[in-house]
Symmetry: C2
Subunit: 423 residues, 2 copies
């Protein structure tokens, strides 16, 4: 089954908006086993939309038209579909009632324009709007093919794609199978390193004729590490989940402690879970990261249960004064350890983190930019420390430093050894 995407919006052509919808839809369609060979982008111009849709229908089995469903005069996707189908627009009373109800419930009078959103090409079906009052999607039969219209607002588009368009497409494709995927999040190895670790497993899975074997893909996600995606096709969801569980277990056996999370679980979520399980509170002393570590931690919902606070000791003498770092060099293991101990004491926390280093562009204390020392102080033992040399400019060094420190904490909390020092 082949599907084509047509994105509508002059603002996309003028570059006022980056088309993130196209990438998301492409990914979801690929996951559903549907081929996408073309994407067209056109402005808010009736003739051009009609022409683009006709071209798309000439070479694909299904077309997703994204954008132009709003209430203003610019929003002409409905008119274009009616022209392609050769039918009139008719008011869908159910949709109109929902829109009126929405304005009524807010005590507002509805501008007449908004009723445009209740117009539907004759023969098409409105997809119930996931949020009342938003533009509903459309399913429009065109001969033996199908045309879907979805709103351009990313959140609404995703709801309608996931809830209605993708299931309808799968049904039409006659897929009795379901496709599911799961992503293992890793930190601490390169893409080629991961590929090497998993090479044997990938050969095992790639047996010709072995239907239903999981497929693996690597997705680099910049400073968030590398993702390993497992995709399976199965006759039902329960079987798919069982296959995913089994493959996850195999991969975790191979990858070991570089896996920090699954799917949307970020490094700070992983750390938060470990702290909550162990009923430990946390504080952080930062130098080069300047507050980034703390800011990431407080983004986890419920952070106030375990996060006490932090000290950004950017000026050197504040490290001595506020954190009792011994006077002397501050880009060292010992300084990181003293910062971790100091902030733990000052903030009455169970665990203290310390991070110091050189963001660049200049060297400091003879250390080149990208050199970062980190420490975790916890319990009665001496703090665990490590050092990394990070690539990139000032901002990238900070971001990498931040996640490296959180990974060190994750390893300490899980009882795993720190990654080897990079020298």
């Amino acid at each position: 089954m082949r599907c084509e995407i047509v994105a509508v919006g002059t603002e996309l052509l003028l570059g006022q908006i980056v088309d993130t919808n196209g990438a998301w839809m492409g990914e979801q369609l690929a996951l559903a086993g549907i081929d996408v060979t073309h994407r067209q982008t056109v402005g808010d111009n009736l003739d051009r939309i009609v022409e683009a849709v006709r071209l798309a229908l000439s070479r694909a089995d299904a077309v997703v038209l994204c954008g132009g469903l709003g209430p203003t005069q610019d929003d002409i996707t409905r008119d274009a579909i009616a022209a392609v189908m050769g039918v009139e627009l008719v008011a869908d009373e159910e949709v109109a009632e929902r829109i009126r109800g929405l304005f009524g419930s807010r005590g507002r009078t509805m501008p007449a324009n908004n009723l445009r959103q209740a117009l539907v090409p004759a023969g098409a079906t409105a997809i119930a709007d996931p949020q009342p009052g938003t533009a509903p999607g459309l399913i429009c039969p065109v001969g033996d093919k199908v045309l879907y219209a979805v709103p351009g607002v990313p959140y609404e588009m995703r709801e309608i794609m996931t809830g209605a368009v993708l299931p309808d497409l799968s049904r039409r494709a006659g897929q009795v199978a379901v496709i599911r995927s799961r992503t293992l999040r890793t930190w601490g190895d390169s893409e080629s390193g991961l590929a090497e670790r998993l090479a044997d497993r990938m050969v095992e899975l790639d047996v010709p004729g072995a239907e239903g074997a999981p497929t693996l893909a690597f997705l680099a996600s910049g400073i968030e590490g590398i993702k390993v995606r497992i995709t399976v096709k199965a006759r039902d969801v329960a079987t798919a989940v069982r296959l995913l569980d089994a493959e996850e277990k195999v991969l975790r056996g191979i990858l070991g402690d570089i896996v920090f999370g699954v799917d949307d679980e970020s490094m700070e979520h992983a750390v938060a879970k470990l702290l909550e399980e162990r009923h430990l509170t946390l504080s952080v002393a930062e130098s080069l990261t300047g507050g980034l570590v703390a800011a990431r931690l407080v983004n986890v919902p419920g952070a106030s249960d375990w996060f006490r606070g932090g000290v950004v000791a950017y000026a050197t003498n504040l490290k001595f004064k506020l954190l009792d770092v011994p006077e002397g060099p501050v880009v060292t293991d010992d300084a990181a350890a003293a910062m971790a101990e100091g902030v733990r004491r000052v903030m009455d926390a169970d665990v203290g983190l310390g991070i110091t280093g050189v963001a660049g562009p200049d060297s400091q204390e003879g250390q080149r930019p990208g050199t970062v020392f980190m420490a975790v102080a916890m319990g009665e033992d001496d703090p665990v420390t490590t050092m990394v040399r990070l690539p990139g400019d000032r901002q990238r060094v900070r971001q990498f430093a931040c996640i490296s420190l959180l990974d060190l904490l994750r390893r300490r909390l899980s009882g795993e050894p720190p990654r080897p020092r990079i020298l």
Copy 2:
């Protein structure tokens, strides 16, 4: 003059990459006065690329083909162009020499594949690569139309577009004029509020037949405020700059103190400049923003000249213990003021910032999520405080709170009154 963009790459269709190039090119072409009515995206498939280019050439005067110029077997844009032009690929010795030289200078042997990058459709001109060894761009005459090929790597694409494609397009369009723009960055008013302030000016500028009058556009940039872009067309750069200067002066007169910067100047850059001019050092006490304010400040190059550090007093009792906030409610003007005074004292800084509030999702001390109190302590006077009610989820509230506080500091340093409290 009409130009069409054809983006090449299966990874764009699969959603592995978001097409940021398309938006950038669209913006640059619009600024150059060239119409873009369509963008097509196709995978790495020879027939489909050829078909897309032919379609584009049938309706536009110029086509920019982006991607597929690399050294691997997947990179078939050159072959597609040769097919469209009906010519052979021939080796460009100058390009081949540059590629060999690059490998030689690094002491590496060149894989034979890399010489693919030296192939040029007969009759086309290679655009000198801005960085030796990268894929050169191509200018390919097709009848009375023109086809450009640019690499998909954003940095290389931008270099070749700016250095060769846009000037060539302008020349072909017979434009003796240059087009320049400047963006005023604002914070503190809505898009409709700005439009109202500038309505009279826009009417003045929109005199029919008044060639060379600047045009104005609003660009919402989310948490970074709203940009007002001035665009002028003039016979030379000096005249364009003079027109921009004049219009900037008029707009600043109308907009007043909501303008905080120009072009790429962010709020933290504006604040850094003011601190440097006044030889003042800064420290910040944060609660709900959890380190974000400090992290933004240290991103400014040279921050160590004026930024001392910060305290993230996330747990309530740390506000009392570390910052001498009087025990009692902590989501108040007084608490923000005490935090600002406290951190200034603890960190020996000239200026102290304090910020406290409710990020959500739950209310705190009877204040609803989005309620934020901020203070700037400086000199002998009482701290300046203000309060805002911000929209959005936890993360947006934090981001808005952060820039609101920096704006309060900017106003205090410039001797402007704080924005009125929003109640």
